[in-house]
Structure formats: C-alpha cells, structure tokens
C-alpha cells in the first residue's frame, strides 16, 4: 500500500496497527454503486431513521478516489461488470467491497446469461449480505461486521507475519471476527451467550431460542 509496508515489527507495530485500524474503521466512506432495488434500502440506511452517520459514514462519495467502501447494491449485468471493476480500480487503498443483496452475492434468483453470478467474479468481496433486498438494519449489521474485521486487519508484511505466527500458536478468537450478529456483539450479556454457544457449536439454535423467547405467541401466551 504505502509507508506502512516498511514498518518494523514489535511493540510499536501493534500500537500503530491499532491506531491505524481504529482511524480506518471510524469513518468508512462509501462509494455509491446502487444498481437496483437494494440501492433504495442503502439510501434509507443513510437517512435519519437508520442514520449511518452514527458510524461516520453518512456521506456517500460519488467519486471513487475519495471512497473506502464500495457497496455493490443490486444485480451486476455482464455489461456493467467492467465498469464496476474500473470504479474499484480507481479507489485508493485501503479499500473494501460489500456485496449487498443476493443478486450481488451470487446472482440470486437471476440465474441467467445476463447477470454476473456473484460480484466476486469481478472484484474481491469482504462481506456478503443476503436478503432481497436486505433491510437497512441488515446493511448496518454487515457494515458493523466489516468494521470489526477492519479493526483486526494486520498492517504491513510484518503485521501479516505476526498474524500468521499467532494462528500457528492457536491464538485465535473463539468467535471469528465479523461473524457475530451486531445485536449480540453490542450487548455484554448476549455477547457472552453467543461466545459460549460458538464453543458448543449451537449458535444458530441460540438465535432461534432467543427469538422464540421474544415472540410471546410462540410460548402459547396471549395476543401480542
């Protein structure tokens, strides 16, 4: 990327890494790449009701050179694919790609010759967000997961080597970065619950259990 490729290893690197990652994740500016209905939900997420400004990214840059995150919102046709790649190439490093909605993630229900079957055929994708279209909460959840990943990215070749060494030692988090749902990660009790469930390999069951507890009609209770 730049000067961080020449950083030495050691205590200094880890502190600089933390600082750099914190500043990088704190204001991720999005490049608009609204292609279909998902873009409507993306706009709603930027509006006052959902307000992505709470994470410093209410501003969507039309210019790729000022953007950090490309949200591919919608189906990518074969004709649009080179344009998408060009926008991506024009973005400055470090850059991330969020594939929003099933059409961008895998082609979705458009399994035909006109649509690229997954935007990861064209650009590397950091976060896949299912849904057709995903509601603004889902987009915010995906962005928060991506922010967690950015926060733990290694910096420079030495940082990458230190990460490899940590992996060899088995020093990896129980819950992989960017896999815990945001409503769990932002609540201390629920986060502990989720971590425990991952250890037991039953996190998806935990989710259903909690949903059933929340929905009174599923417990044979009265009308909600």
């Amino acid at each position: 990327m730049g000067i961080e490729e020449k950083l030495p290893a050691g205590v200094l690197l880890t502190s600089v890494e933390k600082l750099v990652n914190w500043s990088r994740k704190s204001s991720v500016w999005g490049a608009t790449f609204g292609l279909a209905c998902c873009a409507i939900e993306m706009m709603a997420a930027g509006g006052p009701h959902y307000d992505m400004g709470r994470w410093g990214m209410e501003v969507f840059r039309a210019s790729p050179r000022q953007a950090d995150l490309m949200i591919v919102a919608g189906r990518v046709s074969q004709k649009m694919a080179p344009v998408l790649r060009q926008i991506y190439d024009q973005m400055a490093e470090p850059r991330w790609v969020l594939s929003m909605g099933v059409c961008a993630s895998s082609g979705g229900m458009f399994n035909n010759y006109a649509i690229v079957q997954g935007v990861d055929h064209v650009v590397p994708v950091d976060m896949y967000l299912p849904g057709c279209p995903p509601r603004p909460e889902m987009l915010i959840d995906a962005i928060l997961k991506l922010r967690e990943k950015i926060n733990h990215e290694p910096l420079g070749p030495n940082g990458r080597r230190m990460l490899e060494q940590r992996k060899e030692r088995g020093d990896v988090p129980v819950v992989p970065y960017g896999s815990m749902p945001s409503s769990y990660r932002n609540d201390k009790a629920r986060r502990a619950e989720w971590t425990q469930a991952v250890r037991e390999g039953r996190e998806e069951q935990l989710r259903i259990e909690n949903w059933m507890k929340q929905e009174r009609h599923l417990q044979g209770g009265g009308r909600w």
Binding site: Y50, V102, G118, M138
Partner: protein
Amino acid sequence: MGAITGTFKGFGVTFSHMFRKIVTTDYPFEPAPAAPRYHGRHILNRHPDGLEKCIGCELCAWACPADAIYVEGGDNTDEQRFSPGERYASIYQINYARCIFCGLCIEACPTRSLTMSNEYELARDNRQDLIFTKEQLLAPLLPGMEQPPHPMRLGETEKDYYVGALTNPGTSAGAERAPWSETGTKDATGEAS
C-alpha cells in the same frame, strides 16, 4: 438588518430541532422487533418428542424460484429413525446467498416443517458460511424433546403424529402456534392458549 434577522431565523429553525423527538432507531443496541410476519431465516421444526417434521419430499426445493434449497431424502429404519413415517431429509441445505425470502417454500411445505423466524442478521465474509446446513436450520431441543434418531414416542404409526396434528401441532417454532391461527390453539401440554 434584514439579513441578520434572517440568519437568526434560520439558526432558530435548526436549534428548535434539538427539542424534537428523535426518530433514529437505536438498532444494534436496542433493535426494534420486526413485524410478526417478517420473512427472516428459516427454521426446520420438530415434533413434540424431538423427531423432525421434515419428510424429505423436496416440495420446498421445487417451489423455490431461486433454486436456493437442496434436499436429499433418506429412508428411516426402526434403528435409525429421524422422523415419523418412511422418509426424512438426510441432507437439507438452504443457500442464503440465493434465498430471496419470498416464503414460497413455507407455503409448499405439507407438514409445516419449514417455517420462518424474524432473524435477519445474516451477513458473512464468505459464501461457504451462507449455506446453512440441517444442523444450523433445525429448531433447538425444547424441554421434553430428545435428539433423533429415536423411536416414535407419540404413537404407534406416523398417522398418530399427523392426524392429531391439527389440534396438537407441537412445541417448535412454527407459526401454527399463533393464537389467532385457525388450526393451532393448543400447545403440547394440552392447555388452550
């Protein structure tokens, strides 16, 4: 002079917004509940004794407009019984990178085995994790349920499961337990809800 009063008028409008009700939802910290019939991720339900309701008929896979569901049926035997009746789903996968949450699979399901929850936080950083297998989709074991395979506990044949199902649909997360539902007004304990 008019310019100055005009400026303050403008700031006044801005300032008065400080006292307005906040419309922003506090999503990740206090998520608002979704609409009760919101189409979220699926659940594969269980009978009250823990046997799976899915009979591996693949109707959900046929109904799916996005080809997101893959089912492979297997034969139940007396030693290895996963569901009442002859067949069960030995492999059941839903690809959430394709699923459009239309709910046609729910309508197609003849045993109300497949229903939907309101869970929507599904983003992952690779496509592999978006394919949910049967282990992830199955409903949790509630009190009184036993992990299959095990013999039928609620009757001699599968008819006892399905004929009585209208009045006793079981305790898993299916929408048939909603109190307004025409068919399901009782839970496994027999108490009217």
